[in-house]
């Protein structure tokens, strides 16, 4: 029996066998403004509501900016930070690279100290930019994924890409992850419509439909019974 972790995204868990496989790694991929950070924080909030400790690692924004960007949602993140249940930590990619070279000890210690069950890394793209050469990038990402697996949390990692582009090819990072969720923000004449796709999910029978998605004042909603036109 596989243990599953609720995503906290209404409408999604019923489409992926009840939630993410515990301790799995998931890439949340999409273009700018597609809702990746909201998705990831909403996932952490689901853990906080169950009394779990959670860690959000940002490679692009400071802790203050992360909390400020998400302040309009009814999650009271500052309260969770003040209680120590949620830690939002900013590392430059160079710092993480150094950490990985030494086995990722500091992050592991942080996770262990908190007894964290859920981890978000935002974003893999910022991390990848350290490595202009493809081979180095692959090795570094492989090391990062290995470390994340060792750390033993159920993990989400964001990746910036445009999933709609015809010439899109599967990114090497997608092969490393257990699951890949794509967030679309498609242009339809003069408006945009959001949708979500579960591209891959190891160990789970998942839907292959592209589903309507909204970002509301309460967070992201997925509509499992509706269609995208």
């Amino acid at each position: 029996m596989v243990s599953r972790v609720p995503t906290g995204i209404p409408g999604l868990d019923e489409l992926i066998g009840g939630g993410l496989v515990q301790k799995s790694t998931t890439i949340v991929e999409g273009g700018p403004g597609s809702g990746k950070s909201i998705f990831c924080m909403q996932f952490l909030v689901a853990g906080l509501l169950q009394g779990e400790s959670c860690l959000f690692i940002s490679f692009e924004e400071t802790t203050e900016h992360v909390l400020q960007d998400l302040r309009d949602f009814p999650w009271d993140l500052q309260k969770s930070v003040d209680s120590g249940k949620l830690q939002v930590t900013y590392y430059t990619p160079e710092q993480v690279n150094q950490l990985l070279e030494t086995g990722g000890g500091l992050i592991h210690d942080q996770l262990e100290g908190m007894n964290a069950r859920r981890l978000v890394i935002d974003s893999l793209t910022a991390f990848s930019l350290l490595y202009p050469r493809e081979l180095e990038r692959r090795r570094a990402l492989f090391s990062l994924f290995e470390a994340v697996r060792r750390w033993g949390c159920t993990s989400l990692m964001t990746l910036e890409s445009d999933p709609e582009r015809e010439e899109r090819r599967a990114l090497s990072t997608e092969f490393e992850a257990d699951s890949v969720i794509l967030l679309y923000n498609q242009k339809r004449e003069h408006l945009r419509e959001r949708s979500l796709e579960v591209l891959k999910m190891r160990g789970s029978a998942h839907t292959n439909r592209i589903l309507p998605m909204k970002i509301t004042s309460s967070g992201i909603l997925v509509y499992p019974k509706e269609s995208v036109f």
């Binding site: 408006l191 419509e193 949708s195 309507p212 509706e226 269609s227 036109f229």
Partner: protein, 175 residues
């Protein structure tokens, strides 16, 4: 139409001639209003405010209607009895609004005024997909559907296709 009101016939396609559209539509809306059921009025041609005004002027019980409006642009304040979809291009959004009208507002009849207007914004196959999906949704919820079409010409292919998914066709363009 008694079998429609009793729920034995679920989906009726009403094909109205262009020159009689307003007159026939008034009759349809009056008949619907007289039933006392909660109606989801999907207005694709005119603003909900205009439709509301006309129903009220004709003595209809406006409170029976819940409106989905694709004609009024985004940015306007949404009233209590309306979802402003804001754009007829937004079929996904319109689909979500239909579900909301049925599940959250208790609408037992959905009236589409008019399905043919969607062809201005979408290719015929997309309109047909949307209509088919919507009819399936209505049937699944036990909601009755009145689909109004005002074709440019008789024997319109879209009318024929929508007719396939309907339980009954009432064609006012003939005879």
């Amino acid at each position: 139409m008694e079998d429609f009101w009793q729920g034995q016939v679920a989906i009726v396609l009403l094909v109205l001639p262009r020159e009689q559209y307003h007159e026939r539509l008034r009759d349809v809306v009056s008949a619907v209003a007289a039933r006392g059921e909660k109606v989801c009025y999907v207005t694709l041609n005119r603003s909900y405010a205009k439709v509301r005004e006309e129903i009220s002027a004709a003595g209809g019980a406006v409170g029976q209607f819940f409106f989905l409006d694709t004609a009024t642009p985004f940015g306007s304040r949404a009233p209590e009895d309306c979802i402003l979809v804001g754009d007829a291009h937004a079929l996904t959004e319109l689909g979500l609004a239909v579900t909301s009208a049925i599940e959250e507002r208790g609408c037992s009849i959905a009236l589409f005024d008019a399905v043919s207007t969607l062809q201005v914004y979408h290719p015929a196959n997309v309109v047909l997909m949307f209509v088919h999906a919507t009819i399936t949704k209505l049937r699944g919820h036990g909601t009755k559907g009145l689909l109004i079409m005002v074709p440019e010409q008789r024997d319109s292919p879209l009318v024929k296709d929508v007719a396939m998914f309907s339980d009954r066709v009432m064609d006012f363009t003939v005879g």
